[in-house]
Symmetry: C2
Subunit: 423 residues, 2 copies
Amino acid sequence: MKRSRDESLEQFPVAAGSGLPERRRFLRRGLILAGATSAADTLAQNPGDLPWLHVPGQPFSTYGQPSPYERYTARRISSNRAVAGNGVSFTPLEELEGTVTPNGLHFERHHNGVPQIDPERHRLTVHGRVRQPLSFDMKSLLRYPMRSQMLFIECGGNSNAGWHAEPIQRPVGSVHGLVSCAEWTGVPLSILLDEAGVDDSASWVIAEGADAGAMNMSIPLAKMRDDCMVALYQNGERLRPENGYPMRLIVPGWEGVLHVKWLQRLELADQPVMSRNETSKYTELQPSGKARQFTFTMDCKSLITSPSHGQALSRSGVHQVSGLAWSGHGRIARVEVSVDGGMTWADAVLQSPAQPRCFTRFRMPWRWDGRPALLKSRATDEAGHVQPERVALLAERGRAGYFHYNAIVAWAVDDDGLVSHSY
Amino acid sequence: MKRSRDESLEQFPVAAGSGLPERRRFLRRGLILAGATSAADTLAQNPGDLPWLHVPGQPFSTYGQPSPYERYTARRISSNRAVAGNGVSFTPLEELEGTVTPNGLHFERHHNGVPQIDPERHRLTVHGRVRQPLSFDMKSLLRYPMRSQMLFIECGGNSNAGWHAEPIQRPVGSVHGLVSCAEWTGVPLSILLDEAGVDDSASWVIAEGADAGAMNMSIPLAKMRDDCMVALYQNGERLRPENGYPMRLIVPGWEGVLHVKWLQRLELADQPVMSRNETSKYTELQPSGKARQFTFTMDCKSLITSPSHGQALSRSGVHQVSGLAWSGHGRIARVEVSVDGGMTWADAVLQSPAQPRCFTRFRMPWRWDGRPALLKSRATDEAGHVQPERVALLAERGRAGYFHYNAIVAWAVDDDGLVSHSY
């Protein structure tokens, strides 16, 4: 028999509107009766029928794969019909929990496909305004001191459907999934720059990849010295080819396009190279008539991954609201959740430790009363940036906006429990 | 041309014996000249020959895989010839960096193979000394509040070759690789126990898996209430079949065998069930004549993963010493490294944030002078436990020792730079 919902209400004092709990009390007592059934029901289903209880399982594997029952947890590919290797693939955020993105599901953005590089033949060359141009092979890089850091990477064009006049009706990952988070391990760039001896006249570093497009970008020298690294490992193992194998540039908190994959060249210069991706792309005209360029830092942002578009609340009663927050400015300090479209807000519980420029998972139980609701999340980072409402972002950036969309995301729940994207 | 080693020595004041640097100074200045070559050498190799610079790369993928050049980074399988599904597979620790173990390389210990479970048909039943026996399917569990935590899991039998009279000559992962670390996300057990209403007479919980062996173990109720969880996600995605899909028990810091995979039953009881794996196995006779049983907590431990057995230092000069430390008692507080067999020690740099019951990566640069050396690491946890020397562990536990081997691991480097296991 289903447990009575009345009983659960006693356990569940309401603070904010429409069924959000008072946080301190919730943390003290988790009891929410979310639809467990009597054990008798299960025994009635005769679990003796389950084949895996009767036959030995499959043997060991040298490298494991997901369950066949999870085969639809996959990246959604959107690429150029004319140039197959030019496009993106989205991380299915709605299928994931916690903060780590598995390497096989990290989002991709390629301009000319994924090169299959022989690490024995790959070199990283540091040249230009340096005392001694140098070249590093894998073996020499592996002897240098390394650093590991959990960091998000977000494409500057992530969530750009938000600029459309009408809310796009797609799963959260297929709209906002050009962001992922992993533990990156590599050699701090400051060490390699010291090896070559940077000339005082240098102020920019031009990074180039070893793909057939020779993708290149300009990054200020000060940022490179501060916290950038040449990553060799992602979530413990060597990088995957689609994430830059054998080495990629990591530029913490800044646009994904700067994290140059298949890194083969770092040129010290006194000005940016003005490449395609910092002139005709990744720039935008403002209402003022001025263009935004070199908009490096990814802003404070959050979104609810569950419940989210395309999902359905099976029944009224208690559900977990779960989502992700991140900011290129540092740590996430606070995430608020609203289920009444922003009239009232309640503080979500943040997964700890909250690390700088890293996904922070937030969670909040919600007692759905079966009536229509509008869910929103609002993040604040340690630098004081607060995620803006969409109308405010549009007023600031105008209809010409295309990159760096970080407005509050709203999910509408109808009285059947169906969830859709809303403004 | 190779950079002169003399130049590097100036940058590298020595504190501890045999080439370990003075830490503060090292952290301020990373310059170590570890064998970069002149860029001219690289250009002479004519990188124009590299095919991936000339042809478009491969298309996008829905679920990525490691580079073919990394195919030897794999779990090493050691299973029972008579029963293929009974054995272990080791995580190749020597191939990994950072602290996360990728899901495909997490170690395995199975008793009757890996069941292929249909999550729609799987149930978790909580019964025994409870007010209301309950059954949870995936859909209901997904509505409960969840928690995420980075945690190591270590088999109680890990490193047991250390009890052998002679040091075993195998890669570090093939001896000590029955330990891995991942971000686990699931429902705190305290919540599910409250749902069923635990009887005051209950003091133990008997956990059972849905493999054909119906593996079962007894765990004190207090631990279950304190910090255990039913995990549904591993490193962001659903568990892999070999790690308990669709759900496994997580018992932070305790023996791996208690982390019951394919969890289908939790029985509240007033005493342990005395199953095979808590009587004939995972127990050991002490010199005193008494047997150790229910030795739950995995002790403070560390090992150097690079350089380690089977590797070779390509040349004298600076190399990075890198390794892992962990403790079931909490956070790692300190790791010391010695290159002279323990005569002198220097503090390694710990990757932050150091999380409780989680891998902590430690690193230390070392200037190898080309002469024989003996490398060791020694971990201390926040509770004050210090990793013992092997002789001390043997004196305490005797030759009958088999489980919970946590002694200091020593690597001998000969004058050719070859690394082997040593006592």
